[in-house]
Symmetry: C2
Subunit: 431 residues, 2 copies
Amino acid sequence: MRRFTIGLIGLGTVGSGVIQLIRSRHRYVQDKYGVDLQIKTVCDLKIDPKFKRTLGQTAYTKDFRTILNDPEIDVVTELIGGHHPALEIIQGALKNSKHVVTANKAVISNCGRELFRLAHKMERGIYFETAVLAGVPIIKTIAEGIAGNRYNGLYGIVNGTCNYILSEMETNKLGFNEAVKLAQAKGYAESDPTLDINGMDSAHKLAILVSLAMGKFLRVQDIHTEGITHISKEDLYYADEMGLTIKLLAIAKKKGQVIEVRVHPTLISRKHPLASVKGVNNAVLLEADAVGDVLLVGQGAGQMSAASGVFSDLINLAIANADTDRTWIGDNPVEIEQLGLRSMDEIETEFYIRLMVLDRPGVLSRITGILGKYGISIASVTQKAVSKNTAVPLVMLTHSAKERAVRLALKKIGQLKAVKARPVAIRMEEL
Amino acid sequence: MRRFTIGLIGLGTVGSGVIQLIRSRHRYVQDKYGVDLQIKTVCDLKIDPKFKRTLGQTAYTKDFRTILNDPEIDVVTELIGGHHPALEIIQGALKNSKHVVTANKAVISNCGRELFRLAHKMERGIYFETAVLAGVPIIKTIAEGIAGNRYNGLYGIVNGTCNYILSEMETNKLGFNEAVKLAQAKGYAESDPTLDINGMDSAHKLAILVSLAMGKFLRVQDIHTEGITHISKEDLYYADEMGLTIKLLAIAKKKGQVIEVRVHPTLISRKHPLASVKGVNNAVLLEADAVGDVLLVGQGAGQMSAASGVFSDLINLAIANADTDRTWIGDNPVEIEQLGLRSMDEIETEFYIRLMVLDRPGVLSRITGILGKYGISIASVTQKAVSKNTAVPLVMLTHSAKERAVRLALKKIGQLKAVKARPVAIRMEEL
């Protein structure tokens, strides 16, 4: 199996998440993808002594050049963020014929074009799934998932802090400042949240998405950018009255050979799927010309979501590097996890049960008696109409119950004379 | 540039869509992906004479063996559907060392394991993005986009016919039979819709998703499958009263080392993003253990969505086959389309405008006068409170107006003595 050797620069939250994933899933990745991910060296200016003791065979250095100059290292993972020296690290890695994985939206949005040229020249890959929507694979979706399509429009909720603040203002009627404080208390906003709430973070991400989807490299300063600081809870209330909601959207539209790009608070219909993207969730709606509208939603921030994006990039690069052919089912179509299959009888869900019953004394008691006998406990019962002569609907919700018990109970209930149609049972899922 | 030679079997709706995409985007794919897609031979038992005349250099055959035995053909695209001879075509192609692209959910769900083994042995790829959710890239997302994650759950609305019927029953209070007829009239249901409405189509797709996401190969007959024929519009009405809606869900959950799989109508909260997936749209919610919940929504059926999936598979296979290194930005990071950038001043949207105004005679007339002077037409005006002494909110919606006009008008309006705070303007988008 081909070994893929990693140098990892930046041991912050995301970096330690990546190390955790690589270590805990080493065997799983070998079995499933046919590649052997090894972290040879990690680098940061400081390292927690406790963490250092867990490194084992992995070397630690304060000097990123140690990694750039190591001929054994296949890929440099840059997770320090910011412009310098991240840019120099990425350039240096490519020049030394190493692949690059980075989560750095500032560098990719500002210097992407030059870096992609350099990567192309050096015949090396630069993967950056995590730069937009963290591990939610929007980059891969645009670049490969919907290959060959052109994009007419792109609408993104790409900043979780802003979306959380607006959601709180709408749902819990908080004022803007209160919502910011709550976001900070929950760890969803920095102590200085400026770059989030003024829209700049969204503008960086929009520049990256537009370069991929529309093949246009933008300077971030060319993107009209407004934040959410001028939005009041009253605006959200009035919007709601009109069936609308307010989201900070990153927007790109193509009309003919001209595109427009902008980041600003935007009124959209409450019925649109983007309106249901709440809290710190992120989403991008792509208007692709062949496949149609595609919406991708997920946790666009957080340690493990970001670490997952970096981990996924490393696996995909390793596969491409190892030049293994593989089906999507894994390197070798074996059942790695050897999962068992639960029988339907044993599955437990809550149920909605609708019975058509004659409205007579004692009927409800017989029905609930049967349910009780099978251990099915009832959360609510409503009779939906009154009629002496015809059957009326009786609607019940149950607590969690086993499939087999419900099936047997309904069979008994269906045999009652007062029950006039086959009982309808619909399972409920809390998603 | 490496040529990638295609043999295409099945000239139905999807097949002709694929041919259209390959031909109309030939140059675009060369420029962007660095690969040269060529259809050498097409095959079907019948061919429309008009269509035949448009084939040009492309050969036509009635015998699929002509394609399987042609050493120049790199990839066989199987679009005839059904079990036989689709299975023999796919096996034959792999045995003859050809890659395979297929949209065939029956074959992949029933014979996937054997076919993946064969592909692995022959070191050839078998791509099948279109088998689930047509061109919406759920296969690629599970297999590569979220690499290295394990999945704890998976919830899919994977049959557009059923989702359309349930949506119509809910929104327009149609009975089940009426809704089926409407779906047929609109082309969303077959004249015999059995395999859609009995859930079997969903079960096939669930088997494919589970094999990818959970590494478990299921027999379709092991999936508990219920359709939607027993659901009444009253059930949807009662569900709605409880804040719920009913969707036909394909469900897989992993608990420990056991999975449960089932297809049945399911009550879910109306607030959940899956509840907002209406009409013929499809969606899959993935519960991934590192990245968290990821939701993908799009048009899971239709000629061009399906053709897009096949086209995307062909491009991705061609790239893998050509062994070109490439960044996600395209083979060569040039701006293929040379798009212009619209200045913010020229962008047109509708606006929500909130002014804090003193409630005095003549104020509204002065404000609307200024808006009119700048060519901004008003869709609605509401004064949100009454007060003699303090400023009250005045909320207006405009028709589509140019950014520059709105900016200049609001500057003037902001200078009026009766306007007590900086005007708030929020753009509106119809998505």
